[in-house]
Subunit: 201 residues, 2 copies
Amino acid sequence: MRDHHDDRGIPGYNLGSPEVARSPISIEALDELKKSCLLTDEDVIYLRLSYDVLEDQAENLVAMWRGIIAHHPHLRHYSQDVNTGAPDEEYGARVGKRFAQWVLDTARAEYDQAWLDYQYEIGLRHHRAKKNKTDGAHTTAHIRGRDLIGFAAATVAPLRPYLEKGGHSEQVVNRMLDAWWKSMILQVTLWSQPYMNPGDF
Amino acid sequence: MRDHHDDRGIPGYNLGSPEVARSPISIEALDELKKSCLLTDEDVIYLRLSYDVLEDQAENLVAMWRGIIAHHPHLRHYSQDVNTGAPDEEYGARVGKRFAQWVLDTARAEYDQAWLDYQYEIGLRHHRAKKNKTDGAHTTAHIRGRDLIGFAAATVAPLRPYLEKGGHSEQVVNRMLDAWWKSMILQVTLWSQPYMNPGDF
């Protein structure tokens, strides 16, 4: 898997590939979870509206998020080589490309089986079950569950000025931001599954 | 514990009581987690500003959230008696008073040891480890981790009109709402600890 490149040349990005394992939860369970998150069809409209706004800003967003990570030792060390303590540049480059694609996938808001399966895969890639494997890397072996969930806040909180660049009204920007919060929480919930005791999720 | 009432007559509310177990994580770990959530001293200012705005609306907020829960069978059944399938009214009343107090505690934003300990207690009370015990109830024994985390979105997303009633500028309302999102994610992260595999949190 580590050498997989998708059509866009994003290493390790394999949403929709048969090599991604089936999600442990069904599409029906996902529909239920969307309701727990109050994520509605209206939110999907606003997420998709944000696609055009964010498409050309995805790399800037990743750079901004990485600035936050770099500023905090306990986050920064997740992309450091455990042997040298230095940042793993290749790992960083590969993950960064997937992170930018994640912005677009979030805005696309296509909650089909392939998307659901890939959310479980993303969870595994943060967890000791699979971190480093996709990229053949030697960084810290596990992102703590607390940082996985907590960073959801750091991901969405800085989005407003980026969303404002689309020229939409304040009210529409507010709704796009609401939808991003809901989608972020939906996703991080799915990513948390490998972290949970059997039967607890 | 089920008969504990605090000074305000809130049954089972025991933040700061010696009967609450120590949090498994330290205040230093909480400080780190706040950073993962990008929750800063500025957010604390805006949370505290929201106190006066929300103080008289806490019961209305609880009624609104309960409306969401009642609308969805998979959420509603968490407060139904497993023997009769009927809503457990006494359980609902007790939990509702604590839920209203939670609004005030969130706005107070006092992240001390007593608060940290109580977050772990809140997690346990959603989990099969301790659900029903505080209230001597017989409702569904466990709130699924996915609904615990997912409902964080349903909790904060409807807050804007309530925050707007304080008469603050749109910009200040936006900042109060950002701070609520961050605090909500911080808290649900702490609540998730009993759900996680040993060592994963």
